[in-house]
Structures are given as structure tokens and as C-alpha cells.
């Protein structure tokens, strides 16, 4: 279970990333944020976002139409 949950379902590019960036500020260093999204583009975008920001993408899953990502705050 992640420390924080962000529901970005129904939002389109780039809102899931922008909301995640904002939500990460409230996560302690080393803590985790789970993001739920329905934008299929979010899969590649969260990988790129984490690589560029130095955060760690712990998990990337899909269940039906909902994608979930677990990000560990490292920066």
C-alpha cells in the first residue's frame, strides 16, 4: 500500500503527470505515491517522468481500463 493515493482517472495528457508532480510534494522523501489513471499514454509518460526527475517507478500495472503506478519519491 502506497503512502498516498492520487486518482487521475478520466484525465488526459498531461494532467496525470502534472497532478502526480504536485502530489509528490506531499510525500516524504523515500515515501510512495500510487497514481490511478485511464490515459493509456500515461504508461510511457510515467516512465519518462520518473527517469527525468530521478524518482523511482516501483510498479506499473493495468487492470481493465485502469492503470496504476507506484512512484517512490527520491528527489
Amino acid at each position: 500500500m502506497a503512502d498516498q493515493l492520487l486518482d487521475a482517472k478520466g484525465l488526459n495528457c498531461p494532467l496525470p503527470i502534472l497532478r502526480a508532480k504536485k502530489a509528490l510534494k506531499d510525500v516524504a522523501m523515500g515515501g510512495t505515491l500510487e497514481v490511478l489513471a485511464t490515459d493509456p499514454g500515461a504508461v510511457k509518460d510515467f516512465e519518462a517522468f520518473c527517469r527525468a526527475t530521478g524518482n523511482e517507478l516501483l510498479a506499473s500495472n493495468v487492470e481493465g481500463k485502469v492503470y496504476s503506478f507506484v512512484i517512490k519519491r527520491m528527489s
Binding site: N12, P14, L15, I17, K21, T38, D39, A52, T53
Partner: protein, 164 residues
């Protein structure tokens, strides 16, 4: 975002002010800022109107052959003859805004606010302000006035420079 050391940087020249053309610069600026990149946007010519406090952005199918809207299970474009009829622009704009809302795409106002909040640097072209007789008080808070040299000095230091 300037607190990140060795941050990469991006600049953009924003020259177009219709609803469709307003999206790429604001999407890229907000996303880059979220990725820790220093962003500068230079608003010139029709792009400058995107800094007005009150936006009333429009899209026109006239002369826009690639514009087709998903309708009735297919994609419908519009011949110029039809697109030129009064009221068609307004109808197309309303349809586009409706589509944007329905698909969970952010509004330009929302993206612009996010860009300002993310410390995206905005430069309003002084020459265009004079040319189109815009007043500073009609513009949102945040942008600074500048010219070509201001932009170019900034662009020489950027990793990415875009013209939109």
C-alpha cells in the same frame, strides 16, 4: 523549478493564438516544468493573445483541411465553402470545447495557471504589444516584456528550443 541544480532548460516561441494551436506550447511547458526543466515561453504575434486575462479562444475549420471531428462514429471534415458560412466557426469552437471537456483534456486557462504556478518564465513580445495595441493591464500577472534579443540570449543557453 530553478532550485534544481544542473536543470535542463527549454524555450518556446509561441506564435499562434487559436484554440488548437494554444495546446502544444502549454502542454509542453507544464510537463517540462513538472520534469524539473526550466521553461521560458516567448509570446509573439497571435501567440501574445494567449496571455490576455480573459481568453475566448476559437478554432476555425476554414483552410484547415486536416480538421475533422469524431461524429456519429466517423470523422467529419468540412469543405471551405461550408466553413466560410457565418456561425460555423462558433459552432466548430463549441464542438471542440465540448470534446475537450468530455475527454478530460485540460482547458487552456487551467494549463496556463499551472504553467504560472510552476514558475514557467513568460516573455511578452514588446513589439507585438505595440503593434496590436495590447495594454499590460489586459494581460495576466507574471509575464515580463522583452524582445528578440531577450529571447535569443535565453535560447542560446537552452537544451531545447521550439517554434510553435
Amino acid at each position: 523549478m530553478s532550485n534544481e541544480s544542473n536543470a535542463k532548460s527549454m524555450s518556446m516561441i509561441v506564435t499562434k493564438g487559436t484554440l488548437d494551436w494554444a495546446y502544444p506550447p502549454f502542454i509542453l511547458a507544464t510537463t517540462a516544468a513538472a520534469m524539473g526543466i526550466d521553461v521560458t515561453m516567448f509570446f509573439t504575434f497571435y501567440g501574445l493573445g494567449l496571455l490576455k486575462k480573459k481568453l475566448n479562444l476559437k478554432v476555425s475549420p476554414l483552410g484547415n483541411a486536416a480538421m475533422e471531428m469524431p461524429m456519429l462514429g466517423m470523422h467529419i471534415g468540412m469543405p471551405n465553402m461550408v466553413a466560410a458560412i457565418p456561425g460555423v466557426d462558433a459552432a466548430a469552437t463549441a464542438m471542440m470545447k465540448n470534446l475537450i471537456k468530455r475527454k478530460g483534456v485540460a482547458s487552456i486557462e487551467e494549463l496556463r495557471t499551472l504553467a504560472v504556478e510552476a514558475d514557467v518564465k513568460m516573455i511578452a513580445c514588446q513589439m507585438t504589444m505595440d503593434l496590436f495595441e495590447y495594454k499590460l493591464e489586459d494581460m495576466i500577472e507574471g509575464p515580463v516584456l522583452g524582445g528578440a534579443a531577450t529571447y535569443i540570449e535565453n535560447a542560446t543557453k537552452c537544451d531545447i528550443n521550439l517554434f510553435i
